[in-house]
Protein backbone atom coordinates (compact mmCIF):
# COMPACT_ATOMS: atom_id res chain seq x y z
CA UNK A 1 0.00 0.00 0.00
CA UNK A 2 1.46 3.29 -1.10
CA UNK A 3 1.33 6.44 0.97
CA UNK A 4 -0.96 9.25 -0.08
CA UNK A 5 0.49 11.80 -2.49
CA UNK A 6 -2.01 14.46 -1.50
CA UNK A 7 -3.48 14.41 1.97
CA UNK A 8 -6.28 16.82 2.89
CA UNK A 9 -6.94 16.54 6.60
CA UNK A 10 -9.92 18.04 8.34
CA UNK A 11 -9.77 21.20 6.22
CA UNK A 12 -12.06 24.16 6.82
CA UNK A 13 -12.06 27.11 4.50
CA UNK A 14 -14.29 29.87 3.20
CA UNK A 15 -14.63 33.47 2.20
CA UNK A 16 -15.20 36.59 4.28
CA UNK A 17 -18.19 35.84 6.51
CA UNK A 18 -19.03 32.59 4.78
CA UNK A 19 -17.64 29.14 5.53
CA UNK A 20 -17.69 26.75 2.56
CA UNK A 21 -15.76 23.69 3.82
CA UNK A 22 -16.28 22.00 7.20
CA UNK A 23 -13.53 19.55 8.16
CA UNK A 24 -13.03 17.93 4.79
CA UNK A 25 -10.60 15.00 4.61
CA UNK A 26 -9.54 13.11 1.53
CA UNK A 27 -6.44 11.64 -0.04
CA UNK A 28 -5.08 10.89 -3.48
CA UNK A 29 -2.46 8.19 -4.02
CA UNK A 30 0.20 8.32 -6.72
CA UNK A 31 -1.15 7.19 -10.07
CA UNK A 32 -4.77 7.38 -8.96
CA UNK A 33 -7.56 9.39 -10.50
CA UNK A 34 -10.02 10.69 -7.96
CA UNK A 35 -13.17 12.74 -8.39
CA UNK A 36 -14.97 15.02 -5.98
CA UNK A 37 -18.60 15.07 -7.02
CA UNK A 38 -21.52 16.98 -5.65
CA UNK A 39 -24.16 19.56 -6.42
CA UNK A 40 -23.62 23.19 -7.27
CA UNK A 41 -22.44 25.15 -4.25
CA UNK A 42 -21.20 22.10 -2.34
CA UNK A 43 -17.72 23.63 -1.98
CA UNK A 44 -15.95 21.66 -4.73
CA UNK A 45 -14.26 24.67 -6.30
CA UNK A 46 -13.42 26.03 -2.86
CA UNK A 47 -11.67 22.76 -2.09
CA UNK A 48 -9.41 23.04 -5.15
CA UNK A 49 -8.80 26.71 -4.43
CA UNK A 50 -7.76 25.77 -0.90
CA UNK A 51 -5.35 23.09 -2.17
CA UNK A 52 -3.77 25.65 -4.52
CA UNK A 53 -3.70 28.16 -1.65
CA UNK A 54 -5.71 30.69 -3.67
CA UNK A 55 -7.79 31.04 -0.52
CA UNK A 56 -6.66 30.66 3.07
CA UNK A 57 -7.27 27.49 5.04
CA UNK A 58 -8.80 28.26 8.42
CA UNK A 59 -8.47 24.81 9.91
CA UNK A 60 -6.80 21.46 9.25
CA UNK A 61 -3.87 20.85 6.95
CA UNK A 62 -3.01 19.97 3.38
CA UNK A 63 0.16 18.02 2.64
CA UNK A 64 1.79 17.09 -0.64
CA UNK A 65 4.13 14.10 -0.45
CA UNK A 66 4.32 14.54 3.30
CA UNK A 67 5.19 18.25 3.15
CA UNK A 68 2.64 20.62 4.64
CA UNK A 69 1.40 23.45 2.42
CA UNK A 70 0.32 25.48 5.45
CA UNK A 71 2.94 28.24 5.15
CA UNK A 72 3.35 28.02 1.36
CA UNK A 73 2.18 31.05 -0.67
CA UNK A 74 -0.06 30.36 -3.68
CA UNK A 75 2.60 30.97 -6.33
CA UNK A 76 4.91 28.37 -4.76
CA UNK A 77 2.37 25.53 -4.67
CA UNK A 78 3.10 24.64 -8.30
CA UNK A 79 6.71 24.04 -7.24
CA UNK A 80 5.42 21.13 -5.12
CA UNK A 81 4.14 19.49 -8.32
CA UNK A 82 0.52 20.61 -8.10
CA UNK A 83 -0.95 22.21 -11.22
CA UNK A 84 -4.54 23.36 -11.51
CA UNK A 85 -6.82 23.76 -14.53
CA UNK A 86 -9.16 26.39 -13.11
CA UNK A 87 -12.90 26.66 -13.49
CA UNK A 88 -13.92 28.19 -16.85
CA UNK A 89 -10.39 27.48 -18.16
CA UNK A 90 -9.20 31.04 -17.56
CA UNK A 91 -6.84 31.20 -20.54
CA UNK A 92 -5.15 34.49 -21.31
CA UNK A 93 -7.41 35.48 -24.21
CA UNK A 94 -5.03 37.91 -25.91
CA UNK A 95 -1.99 35.64 -25.70
CA UNK A 96 -1.44 33.00 -28.36
CA UNK A 97 -1.89 29.31 -27.65
CA UNK A 98 1.89 28.89 -27.59
CA UNK A 99 2.24 31.82 -25.14
CA UNK A 100 -0.45 30.39 -22.87
CA UNK A 101 1.44 27.11 -22.81
CA UNK A 102 4.65 28.99 -22.12
CA UNK A 103 3.08 30.64 -19.07
CA UNK A 104 2.22 27.19 -17.70
CA UNK A 105 5.94 26.43 -17.70
CA UNK A 106 6.93 29.71 -16.04
CA UNK A 107 8.86 28.12 -13.16
CA UNK A 108 12.62 28.29 -13.78
CA UNK A 109 12.85 24.50 -13.35
CA UNK A 110 10.17 24.08 -16.05
CA UNK A 111 11.76 26.51 -18.52
CA UNK A 112 14.69 24.22 -19.13
CA UNK A 113 12.31 21.50 -20.30
CA UNK A 114 9.97 23.76 -22.29
CA UNK A 115 10.62 22.26 -25.75
CA UNK A 116 10.30 18.68 -24.58
CA UNK A 117 7.03 19.30 -22.74
CA UNK A 118 5.62 21.39 -25.56
CA UNK A 119 6.25 18.47 -27.91
CA UNK A 120 4.41 16.21 -25.45
CA UNK A 121 1.41 18.55 -25.20
CA UNK A 122 1.30 18.82 -28.99
CA UNK A 123 1.41 15.04 -29.31
CA UNK A 124 -1.46 14.78 -26.83
CA UNK A 125 -3.45 17.55 -28.54
CA UNK A 126 -2.33 17.87 -32.18
CA UNK A 127 -4.98 20.59 -32.59
CA UNK A 128 -2.97 22.82 -30.28
CA UNK A 129 0.00 22.61 -32.61
CA UNK A 130 -2.17 23.71 -35.54
CA UNK A 131 -3.51 26.61 -33.47
CA UNK A 132 -0.23 27.54 -31.76
CA UNK A 133 -0.10 31.06 -33.22
CA UNK A 134 -3.78 31.80 -32.70
CA UNK A 135 -5.07 33.98 -29.84
CA UNK A 136 -6.52 31.76 -27.12
CA UNK A 137 -9.67 33.90 -26.94
CA UNK A 138 -10.57 32.83 -30.48
CA UNK A 139 -10.50 29.08 -29.75
CA UNK A 140 -13.68 27.01 -29.47
CA UNK A 141 -14.72 25.83 -26.01
CA UNK A 142 -13.28 22.36 -26.45
CA UNK A 143 -10.02 23.71 -27.82
CA UNK A 144 -9.78 26.12 -24.90
CA UNK A 145 -10.08 23.20 -22.51
CA UNK A 146 -7.27 21.39 -24.34
CA UNK A 147 -5.14 24.51 -24.10
CA UNK A 148 -5.91 24.93 -20.39
CA UNK A 149 -4.99 21.30 -19.67
CA UNK A 150 -1.87 21.63 -21.83
CA UNK A 151 -0.90 24.77 -19.94
CA UNK A 152 -1.13 22.90 -16.63
CA UNK A 153 0.92 19.99 -18.02
CA UNK A 154 3.74 22.37 -19.05
CA UNK A 155 4.90 22.59 -15.43
CA UNK A 156 5.42 18.82 -15.39
CA UNK A 157 3.05 18.29 -12.46
CA UNK A 158 2.83 15.19 -10.31
CA UNK A 159 -0.76 16.01 -9.46
CA UNK A 160 -3.26 17.60 -11.81
CA UNK A 161 -6.27 19.40 -10.34
CA UNK A 162 -9.19 19.87 -12.73
CA UNK A 163 -12.07 22.17 -11.84
CA UNK A 164 -15.30 21.40 -13.73
CA UNK A 165 -13.66 20.70 -17.10
CA UNK A 166 -17.04 20.04 -18.74
CA UNK A 167 -18.80 23.16 -17.44
CA UNK A 168 -20.20 25.55 -20.02
CA UNK A 169 -19.47 23.31 -22.98
CA UNK A 170 -21.87 21.94 -25.57
CA UNK A 171 -22.97 18.31 -24.96
CA UNK A 172 -21.02 17.03 -27.97
CA UNK A 173 -17.89 18.73 -26.68
CA UNK A 174 -18.43 17.38 -23.16
CA UNK A 175 -18.18 13.88 -24.59
CA UNK A 176 -14.79 14.66 -26.14
CA UNK A 177 -13.59 16.29 -22.92
CA UNK A 178 -14.18 13.04 -21.03
CA UNK A 179 -12.39 11.10 -23.77
CA UNK A 180 -9.51 13.52 -23.24
CA UNK A 181 -9.57 12.95 -19.47
CA UNK A 182 -9.42 9.19 -19.98
CA UNK A 183 -6.25 9.70 -21.99
CA UNK A 184 -4.73 11.98 -19.36
CA UNK A 185 -5.41 9.35 -16.67
CA UNK A 186 -4.00 6.58 -18.83
CA UNK A 187 -0.82 8.66 -19.32
CA UNK A 188 -0.13 7.92 -15.66
CA UNK A 189 -0.95 11.36 -14.27
CA UNK A 190 -2.35 11.55 -10.77
CA UNK A 191 -5.59 13.46 -11.11
CA UNK A 192 -8.04 15.09 -8.73
CA UNK A 193 -11.09 16.23 -10.61
CA UNK A 194 -14.11 18.16 -9.47
CA UNK A 195 -17.28 17.65 -11.51
CA UNK A 196 -21.00 18.18 -11.55
CA UNK A 197 -21.37 15.81 -14.47
CA UNK A 198 -21.44 12.87 -12.09
CA UNK A 199 -22.40 10.05 -14.42
CA UNK A 200 -19.64 10.84 -16.90
CA UNK A 201 -16.86 11.48 -14.42
CA UNK A 202 -17.53 8.29 -12.45
CA UNK A 203 -16.89 6.32 -15.63
CA UNK A 204 -13.42 7.86 -15.93
CA UNK A 205 -11.96 7.90 -12.40
CA UNK A 206 -10.91 5.16 -9.95
CA UNK A 207 -12.42 6.58 -6.77
CA UNK A 208 -14.70 9.42 -5.77
CA UNK A 209 -15.85 11.49 -2.83
CA UNK A 210 -19.33 12.97 -2.57
CA UNK A 211 -19.24 16.51 -1.20
CA UNK A 212 -22.45 18.13 0.05
CA UNK A 213 -22.72 21.52 1.77
CA UNK A 214 -19.03 21.52 2.59
CA UNK A 215 -18.83 18.02 4.08
CA UNK A 216 -17.78 14.64 2.65
CA UNK A 217 -20.93 12.50 2.67
CA UNK A 218 -19.76 9.34 0.98
CA UNK A 219 -16.68 7.90 -0.67
CA UNK A 220 -15.58 4.77 -2.43
CA UNK A 221 -14.69 3.15 -5.73
CA UNK A 222 -16.25 4.97 -8.68
CA UNK A 223 -18.12 1.87 -9.81
CA UNK A 224 -19.64 1.39 -6.34
CA UNK A 225 -20.79 5.00 -6.15
CA UNK A 226 -22.27 4.75 -9.61
CA UNK A 227 -24.27 1.75 -8.38
CA UNK A 228 -25.25 3.22 -4.99
CA UNK A 229 -28.93 3.89 -4.53
CA UNK A 230 -28.42 7.24 -2.84
CA UNK A 231 -26.37 8.68 -5.68
CA UNK A 232 -28.57 7.16 -8.34
CA UNK A 233 -31.66 8.73 -6.79
CA UNK A 234 -30.23 12.11 -5.86
CA UNK A 235 -27.95 12.81 -8.78
CA UNK A 236 -28.59 10.52 -11.68
CA UNK A 237 -32.37 10.66 -11.58
CA UNK A 238 -32.80 6.93 -11.86
Amino acid sequence: MSAAMLKVENVSAGYAGFQALFGVSLEVKAGESVAVIGPNGAGKTTLLRAISKLIGVTGGDIAMEGRSLKAVPAHEVIGYGIAQVPENRRLFPRLTVAENLKMGGFLPSARARHDERLAFVYSLFPRMKERSGQLAGTLSGGEQQMCAIGRALMSGPKLLLLDEPSAGLAPVVVQSIFEMLKRICSEGYTVLIVEQNIRQVLKVVDRAYLLETGRIKQSGAAADLLASDEIRKAYLGI
Partner: protein, 289 residues
Protein backbone atom coordinates in the same frame (compact mmCIF):
# COMPACT_ATOMS: atom_id res chain seq x y z
CA UNK B 1 1.73 77.62 -53.63
CA UNK B 2 5.36 77.74 -54.62
CA UNK B 3 8.12 75.20 -54.10
CA UNK B 4 9.41 76.88 -50.95
CA UNK B 5 6.02 76.54 -49.28
CA UNK B 6 5.96 72.79 -49.86
CA UNK B 7 9.47 72.35 -48.54
CA UNK B 8 8.58 74.04 -45.26
CA UNK B 9 5.39 72.03 -44.97
CA UNK B 10 7.41 68.88 -45.56
CA UNK B 11 9.85 70.03 -42.90
CA UNK B 12 7.10 70.44 -40.33
CA UNK B 13 5.62 67.05 -41.22
CA UNK B 14 9.04 65.47 -40.70
CA UNK B 15 9.58 67.38 -37.47
CA UNK B 16 6.15 66.19 -36.36
CA UNK B 17 7.30 62.66 -37.08
CA UNK B 18 10.37 63.15 -34.89
CA UNK B 19 8.24 64.65 -32.11
CA UNK B 20 5.80 61.74 -32.48
CA UNK B 21 8.54 59.21 -31.78
CA UNK B 22 9.46 60.99 -28.56
CA UNK B 23 5.84 61.36 -27.43
CA UNK B 24 5.23 57.70 -28.25
CA UNK B 25 8.07 56.72 -25.94
CA UNK B 26 6.77 58.95 -23.14
CA UNK B 27 3.26 57.51 -23.42
CA UNK B 28 4.52 53.92 -23.57
CA UNK B 29 5.66 53.91 -19.94
CA UNK B 30 2.40 55.36 -18.67
CA UNK B 31 0.40 52.91 -20.79
CA UNK B 32 2.46 49.97 -19.57
CA UNK B 33 1.77 50.86 -15.95
CA UNK B 34 -1.93 51.41 -16.51
CA UNK B 35 -2.36 48.35 -18.73
CA UNK B 36 -0.68 46.02 -16.27
CA UNK B 37 -1.28 47.46 -12.80
CA UNK B 38 -4.48 49.37 -13.58
CA UNK B 39 -3.19 52.51 -11.90
CA UNK B 40 -2.46 55.88 -13.51
CA UNK B 41 0.82 57.42 -12.47
CA UNK B 42 -0.25 61.08 -12.56
CA UNK B 43 3.28 61.89 -11.39
CA UNK B 44 4.86 60.15 -14.40
CA UNK B 45 6.28 63.37 -15.89
CA UNK B 46 7.75 64.28 -12.50
CA UNK B 47 9.76 61.05 -12.64
CA UNK B 48 11.05 62.34 -15.98
CA UNK B 49 11.97 65.60 -14.26
CA UNK B 50 13.91 63.67 -11.61
CA UNK B 51 15.73 61.84 -14.39
CA UNK B 52 16.64 65.09 -16.12
CA UNK B 53 18.15 66.46 -12.92
CA UNK B 54 20.01 63.19 -12.39
CA UNK B 55 21.58 63.36 -15.86
CA UNK B 56 22.42 67.02 -15.30
CA UNK B 57 24.15 66.48 -11.97
CA UNK B 58 26.07 63.39 -13.03
CA UNK B 59 27.28 65.09 -16.21
CA UNK B 60 27.75 68.73 -15.23
CA UNK B 61 28.49 68.56 -11.50
CA UNK B 62 30.27 65.19 -11.25
CA UNK B 63 31.83 65.38 -14.70
CA UNK B 64 30.72 61.92 -15.83
CA UNK B 65 30.72 61.34 -19.58
CA UNK B 66 27.22 62.07 -20.90
CA UNK B 67 26.43 58.47 -21.84
CA UNK B 68 27.24 57.21 -18.33
CA UNK B 69 25.29 60.06 -16.77
CA UNK B 70 22.34 59.00 -18.90
CA UNK B 71 22.63 55.33 -17.93
CA UNK B 72 22.77 56.37 -14.27
CA UNK B 73 19.72 58.58 -14.83
CA UNK B 74 17.76 55.67 -16.32
CA UNK B 75 18.72 53.42 -13.41
CA UNK B 76 17.74 56.04 -10.85
CA UNK B 77 14.31 56.61 -12.39
CA UNK B 78 13.80 52.84 -12.72
CA UNK B 79 14.53 52.53 -9.00
CA UNK B 80 12.20 55.46 -8.33
CA UNK B 81 9.45 53.68 -10.29
CA UNK B 82 9.90 50.52 -8.24
CA UNK B 83 9.94 52.55 -5.02
CA UNK B 84 6.79 54.41 -6.09
CA UNK B 85 5.03 51.09 -6.52
CA UNK B 86 6.32 49.54 -3.33
CA UNK B 87 5.68 52.46 -0.98
CA UNK B 88 2.77 54.32 -2.60
CA UNK B 89 0.81 52.12 -5.02
CA UNK B 90 0.91 48.78 -3.23
CA UNK B 91 -0.93 49.97 -0.13
CA UNK B 92 -3.76 51.40 -2.31
CA UNK B 93 -3.83 48.66 -4.93
CA UNK B 94 -7.34 47.56 -4.01
CA UNK B 95 -8.59 51.05 -3.12
CA UNK B 96 -10.99 53.14 -5.19
CA UNK B 97 -9.46 54.48 -8.46
CA UNK B 98 -10.02 58.06 -7.29
CA UNK B 99 -7.86 57.41 -4.23
CA UNK B 100 -5.11 55.93 -6.38
CA UNK B 101 -5.29 58.99 -8.61
CA UNK B 102 -5.12 61.35 -5.64
CA UNK B 103 -2.17 59.59 -4.05
CA UNK B 104 -0.07 59.72 -7.25
CA UNK B 105 -1.24 63.33 -7.63
CA UNK B 106 0.17 63.92 -4.18
CA UNK B 107 3.49 62.44 -5.29
CA UNK B 108 3.46 64.87 -8.24
CA UNK B 109 3.31 67.90 -5.96
CA UNK B 110 5.73 66.33 -3.50
CA UNK B 111 8.33 65.79 -6.23
CA UNK B 112 7.82 69.29 -7.62
CA UNK B 113 8.15 70.90 -4.23
CA UNK B 114 11.10 68.73 -3.27
CA UNK B 115 12.86 69.57 -6.56
CA UNK B 116 12.31 73.28 -5.95
CA UNK B 117 13.74 72.93 -2.48
CA UNK B 118 16.75 70.82 -3.43
CA UNK B 119 17.62 72.03 -6.92
CA UNK B 120 16.29 75.61 -6.84
CA UNK B 121 14.03 77.30 -9.36
CA UNK B 122 16.68 78.48 -11.82
CA UNK B 123 16.75 76.82 -15.24
CA UNK B 124 19.61 74.42 -15.80
CA UNK B 125 20.89 72.91 -19.00
CA UNK B 126 23.58 70.49 -20.03
CA UNK B 127 25.36 73.11 -22.13
CA UNK B 128 25.76 70.57 -24.90
CA UNK B 129 25.15 71.99 -28.38
CA UNK B 130 24.74 70.19 -31.66
CA UNK B 131 24.81 71.70 -35.12
CA UNK B 132 21.70 71.02 -37.16
CA UNK B 133 21.79 68.49 -39.94
CA UNK B 134 20.84 69.95 -43.29
CA UNK B 135 19.53 67.76 -46.05
CA UNK B 136 18.72 69.73 -49.18
CA UNK B 137 16.74 72.71 -47.94
CA UNK B 138 15.45 71.00 -44.83
CA UNK B 139 17.30 71.23 -41.56
CA UNK B 140 16.86 68.84 -38.65
CA UNK B 141 17.86 69.41 -35.07
CA UNK B 142 20.35 66.79 -33.99
CA UNK B 143 18.83 66.22 -30.50
CA UNK B 144 15.47 65.56 -32.15
CA UNK B 145 16.99 63.01 -34.49
CA UNK B 146 18.76 61.33 -31.57
CA UNK B 147 15.54 61.41 -29.55
CA UNK B 148 13.59 59.86 -32.41
CA UNK B 149 16.15 57.09 -32.98
CA UNK B 150 16.56 56.30 -29.28
CA UNK B 151 12.79 56.38 -28.72
CA UNK B 152 12.22 53.91 -31.54
CA UNK B 153 15.06 51.77 -30.19
CA UNK B 154 13.59 51.88 -26.69
CA UNK B 155 10.16 50.91 -27.94
CA UNK B 156 11.55 48.07 -30.05
CA UNK B 157 13.48 46.82 -27.03
CA UNK B 158 10.33 46.94 -24.93
CA UNK B 159 8.38 45.09 -27.62
CA UNK B 160 11.00 42.34 -27.78
CA UNK B 161 11.10 42.09 -23.99
CA UNK B 162 7.32 41.80 -23.70
CA UNK B 163 7.02 39.21 -26.47
CA UNK B 164 10.17 37.10 -26.14
CA UNK B 165 10.88 36.67 -22.43
CA UNK B 166 9.07 34.79 -19.70
CA UNK B 167 8.79 37.87 -17.48
CA UNK B 168 7.56 39.96 -20.43
CA UNK B 169 4.92 37.38 -21.33
CA UNK B 170 3.88 37.25 -17.68
CA UNK B 171 3.52 41.06 -17.71
CA UNK B 172 1.09 40.79 -20.63
CA UNK B 173 -0.68 37.83 -19.04
CA UNK B 174 -1.20 39.52 -15.68
CA UNK B 175 -2.98 42.42 -17.38
CA UNK B 176 -5.51 39.89 -18.74
CA UNK B 177 -6.12 37.77 -15.63
CA UNK B 178 -4.48 38.84 -12.40
CA UNK B 179 -6.20 36.31 -10.13
CA UNK B 180 -4.90 33.09 -11.68
CA UNK B 181 -1.25 34.12 -12.03
CA UNK B 182 -0.27 32.20 -8.85
CA UNK B 183 -1.43 28.99 -10.57
CA UNK B 184 1.34 29.62 -13.13
CA UNK B 185 3.88 29.96 -10.33
CA UNK B 186 3.99 33.73 -10.85
CA UNK B 187 4.13 36.06 -7.87
CA UNK B 188 1.97 39.01 -8.98
CA UNK B 189 3.70 41.41 -6.58
CA UNK B 190 7.04 40.68 -8.17
CA UNK B 191 5.66 41.23 -11.69
CA UNK B 192 4.16 44.56 -10.60
CA UNK B 193 7.50 45.62 -9.16
CA UNK B 194 9.34 44.68 -12.37
CA UNK B 195 6.70 46.48 -14.46
CA UNK B 196 7.05 49.61 -12.33
CA UNK B 197 10.82 49.54 -12.71
CA UNK B 198 10.37 49.19 -16.48
CA UNK B 199 7.91 52.09 -16.55
CA UNK B 200 10.47 54.08 -14.58
CA UNK B 201 13.25 53.09 -16.99
CA UNK B 202 11.14 54.34 -19.91
CA UNK B 203 10.59 57.64 -18.08
CA UNK B 204 14.36 57.72 -17.49
CA UNK B 205 15.07 57.19 -21.17
CA UNK B 206 12.56 59.95 -21.95
CA UNK B 207 14.44 62.19 -19.51
CA UNK B 208 17.74 61.55 -21.29
CA UNK B 209 16.20 62.57 -24.62
CA UNK B 210 14.37 65.63 -23.29
CA UNK B 211 17.40 66.93 -21.44
CA UNK B 212 19.17 67.29 -24.79
CA UNK B 213 16.46 69.68 -26.01
CA UNK B 214 15.03 71.48 -23.01
CA UNK B 215 16.16 73.39 -19.95
CA UNK B 216 15.48 71.69 -16.63
CA UNK B 217 13.33 73.28 -13.92
CA UNK B 218 11.13 71.85 -11.17
CA UNK B 219 7.89 72.41 -13.14
CA UNK B 220 9.12 70.91 -16.41
CA UNK B 221 6.86 67.90 -15.80
CA UNK B 222 3.84 70.08 -16.46
CA UNK B 223 5.05 70.60 -20.04
CA UNK B 224 4.93 66.87 -20.78
CA UNK B 225 2.67 65.26 -18.19
CA UNK B 226 -0.73 66.41 -19.51
CA UNK B 227 0.13 65.76 -23.15
CA UNK B 228 1.47 62.27 -22.33
CA UNK B 229 -1.68 61.47 -20.42
CA UNK B 230 -3.93 62.80 -23.20
CA UNK B 231 -2.09 60.71 -25.79
CA UNK B 232 -2.63 57.60 -23.68
CA UNK B 233 -6.35 58.40 -23.37
CA UNK B 234 -6.61 59.14 -27.09
CA UNK B 235 -5.07 55.79 -27.95
CA UNK B 236 -7.17 53.96 -25.37
CA UNK B 237 -5.65 53.98 -21.87
CA UNK B 238 -3.46 50.90 -21.43
CA UNK B 239 -3.41 50.15 -25.16
CA UNK B 240 0.26 50.41 -26.15
CA UNK B 241 -0.34 50.17 -29.91
CA UNK B 242 -3.09 52.79 -29.67
CA UNK B 243 -0.81 55.10 -27.70
CA UNK B 244 1.90 54.70 -30.32
CA UNK B 245 -0.46 55.76 -33.13
CA UNK B 246 -2.03 58.55 -31.06
CA UNK B 247 1.40 60.03 -30.34
CA UNK B 248 2.14 60.44 -34.05
CA UNK B 249 -1.32 61.88 -34.75
CA UNK B 250 -0.99 64.35 -31.89
CA UNK B 251 2.50 65.34 -32.97
CA UNK B 252 1.31 66.13 -36.49
CA UNK B 253 -1.43 68.40 -35.13
CA UNK B 254 1.15 70.24 -33.07
CA UNK B 255 3.77 70.47 -35.80
CA UNK B 256 1.68 71.06 -38.92
CA UNK B 257 -0.89 73.13 -36.97
CA UNK B 258 2.02 75.21 -35.73
CA UNK B 259 3.25 75.60 -39.28
CA UNK B 260 -0.03 76.98 -40.64
CA UNK B 261 -0.69 79.25 -37.67
CA UNK B 262 1.70 79.82 -34.80
CA UNK B 263 3.38 77.18 -32.66
CA UNK B 264 1.02 77.86 -29.71
CA UNK B 265 -1.90 77.33 -32.06
CA UNK B 266 -0.56 73.87 -32.83
CA UNK B 267 -1.23 72.89 -29.22
CA UNK B 268 -4.63 74.55 -29.23
CA UNK B 269 -5.65 72.58 -32.33
CA UNK B 270 -4.26 69.34 -30.91
CA UNK B 271 -6.21 69.75 -27.67
CA UNK B 272 -9.38 70.72 -29.55
CA UNK B 273 -8.96 67.54 -31.56
CA UNK B 274 -8.59 65.63 -28.31
CA UNK B 275 -11.78 67.10 -26.86
CA UNK B 276 -13.67 66.31 -30.07
CA UNK B 277 -12.39 62.74 -30.01
CA UNK B 278 -13.56 62.35 -26.41
CA UNK B 279 -17.11 63.02 -27.60
CA UNK B 280 -16.78 60.79 -30.62
CA UNK B 281 -14.68 57.90 -29.27
CA UNK B 282 -14.31 58.26 -25.50
CA UNK B 283 -12.77 54.79 -25.28
CA UNK B 284 -9.86 55.95 -27.48
CA UNK B 285 -9.03 55.36 -31.11
CA UNK B 286 -8.10 51.73 -30.56
CA UNK B 287 -9.86 51.18 -27.25
CA UNK B 288 -12.55 48.56 -26.87
CA UNK B 289 -15.96 49.81 -25.76
Amino acid sequence: MGDIFDIFLLESVLNGLLLGGLLALLSLGLNLIFGVIDVVWICYAELIMVGMYAVYYFHVSFGWPLIFAMLAGILIVAAAGAALHYFVIRPVLTAEPINQLLVTGGVLFFLQAAATLVFGIEFKNLGVTFSPIVIGEISFSMPRLIAFGAALGGMLGMYLFLTRTYIGTAIRAISQDRAIMPLMGVNPNRIFLVTSALGGALAGLGACLLVLQYDIHPAIGLSFGPITFLICVLGGLGNMVGGFAAAFIFAQFISVGGFFFAIEWGYVIAFLFFIGMMFWRPQGIFGAK
